[in-house]
């Protein structure tokens, strides 16, 4: 709490007290993981591996960033993986035909459209976010299958692949993209009217409504943004793997939720932030990379991930319970 007086002006929403615990505990976790892996595997501290981890973490962050904002309002967006898959298919099909610009537009627009529909169903249709976005998951997923008819698109132009596989100096482009997005979203959350509404709705929806905030409009904007960010992540993903098929987004939802939780954002809303999700994504990427280097069987990997997520949330509950508070 004392940190609030020292923090620079303006960062005065839900970050200071809770974040102190989260940041310290996560930094300790990262240092511990890196130390253990550096000792246990000779390959871990090689340049190639670190580039790999940073790219993996960046992509994970792009996927989880929109979800973070939704979770801060006290909602959930289960459709992000499916939207990513649909956006990837639509844009890849245009990009391989040489329409790079329209490919990019289609990814962002399809994500935006799906998110807007989810948000409208949640606010004006009064459907719980869990159900509305679960329905959207299957719709986006189904549209992707129909569109692709089982085909796989591969071989994207090099100019486009730059955003997923390129380097600026020694730094992978996805890392630069992720850092830029992190800064932009952090500013949005703490310095704009929309960001203030996001924390207020997550903290006390009734207070937000009674204060005269246009809560429904703000929520639609949040889900639309979440969808659009999934579309954006799709572009980086297909540029990296140089291919797209309709199953691309299938396994991306649960790791994204894990990254948000690991980052200390409360699933009840109002507490946490985008920087936490960046840290959470890095931890997730480190752990997966470490398990691969150490030859941990895939069967065990899922169990280990689950245990890590539970441990982090439990630590926040116990270590930060006074700060997180009850509602």
């Amino acid at each position: 709490m004392r940190a609030s007086a020292a923090s620079p002006h303006g960062g005065l929403t839900a970050k200071v007290d809770h974040t102190l615990f989260v940041v310290v505990s996560r930094l300790v976790a990262i240092i511990a993981i890196v130390t253990v892996l550096a000792i246990a595997s000779p390959h871990f501290l090689t340049w190639g591996n670190l580039v790999n981890v940073s790219r993996q973490a960046s992509l994970q962050f792009l996927i989880a960033s929109g979800l973070t904002i939704v979770v801060l309002t006290g909602g959930i967006d289960l459709a992000i993986g499916a939207i990513l898959g649909l956006a990837a298919c639509l844009s890849a099909s245009l990009i391989v035909q040489g329409h790079v610009f329209w490919g990019i537009v289609s990814a962002l627009a399809s994500g935006l459209a799906c998110g807007t529909v989810s948000g409208t169903l949640i606010t004006y249709g009064r459907i719980p976010a869990f159900i509305a976005t679960y329905g959207m998951l299957w719709i986006a997923h189904g549209l992707g299958y129909v569109f692709m008819e089982g085909e796989v698109i591969y071989g994207l132009p090099d100019a486009f692949r730059f955003i997923g596989a390129g380097f600026v100096g020694p730094v992978p482009v996805p890392v630069i993209v992720a850092v830029a997005l992190l800064v932009a979203l952090h500013v949005m959350l703490h310095r704009t009217v929309l960001g203030r509404a996001i924390y207020a709705i997550g903290g006390n929806p009734a207070a937000a409504r009674l204060s005269g905030m246009p809560v429904r409009r703000r929520l639609i904007a949040v889900y639309a943004l979440s969808g659009m960010l999934a579309g954006f992540a799709a572009l980086v993903a297909i540029a990296r793997v140089n291919a797209a098929d309709s199953s691309l987004g299938e396994d991306l939802l649960l790791p994204a939720i894990a990254a948000v939780c690991l980052g200390g954002t409360s699933l009840f809303g109002g507490v946490g932030g985008i920087a936490g999700t960046a840290i959470g994504s890095l931890i997730l990427a480190l752990v997966v990379n470490g398990m691969n280097l150490l030859g941990v069987e895939t069967f065990w990997q899922n169990g280990v991930m689950g245990a890590i997520i539970l441990a982090s949330v439990l630590a926040d509950q116990l270590g930060g319970s006074r700060l997180i508070g009850k509602r």
Binding site: V193, A206, A208
Partner: protein, 266 residues
Amino acid sequence: MTETKAPIVSMRGITKAYGGVQALKGVDLDIYLGEVHALVGDNAAGKSSLIKTLAGAVRPDAGTITFEGREVRIEDPRDAKALGIETVYQDLALADNLDVPANVFLGREITRRPPFGWFLDNRAMEERARGLLARLKINIPNVRLKVRAMSGGQRQSIAIARCVCFNARVIILDEPTAALGVQETGKVYALIREMRDQGCGVLLISHNLNHVFENCDRITVMKTGSLVGSRRVEETTQDEVVKMIVSGTADPPRAAGRPQPLAQPG
């Protein structure tokens, strides 16, 4: 402050049913500037429903509301705020995870000049919040703390201060001291009297008749959705008010005729 003859708010024949339950059966109520008006009565008397219709949180089935002599429609909280009617809800409508300036300006954030109208002017909000707290003699040393970390009295003070900040004419409070200790209750009532002295009309719900008689100018009793009677504090006694609350009937007021506004103190 000059003496005000006409009520700033007149509610007439306000009716509201929830399903088969008739919560309000044609209630009349006047609010005067420079007066603290207490609304008392048993549970389910309709007090909260009545203030919610004025606050825009509930739409009445029938009845009219006039504000400064004009008939107005109050269909949501924003309509009420636009008129200068501000409400402090029982459950402290603050966002716990935000700090004091963010809560004071909740829903009405100060923004930067266009084209940066989407960006918050956090510095301006903080300065104005500090000035506001100083003016109302509310003691909160660090306004950058989350509201969650504050005492019940401080939180209630913030909720009330929020009204003042936007030039409220009428302030509605639903049991403002229900969750507070003795000392904090005293401070909140001092704040309420301060707002009255600055010329606001105050309508509050309370279950504590001692507080009402110490701090209010007018008492209106309700029972099962109807008005029982309205008295100026110096014209009545606690015994009479208790009798009105319990029996739901009133003797004719000792001072005959329509209730008159009080002379302003000072």
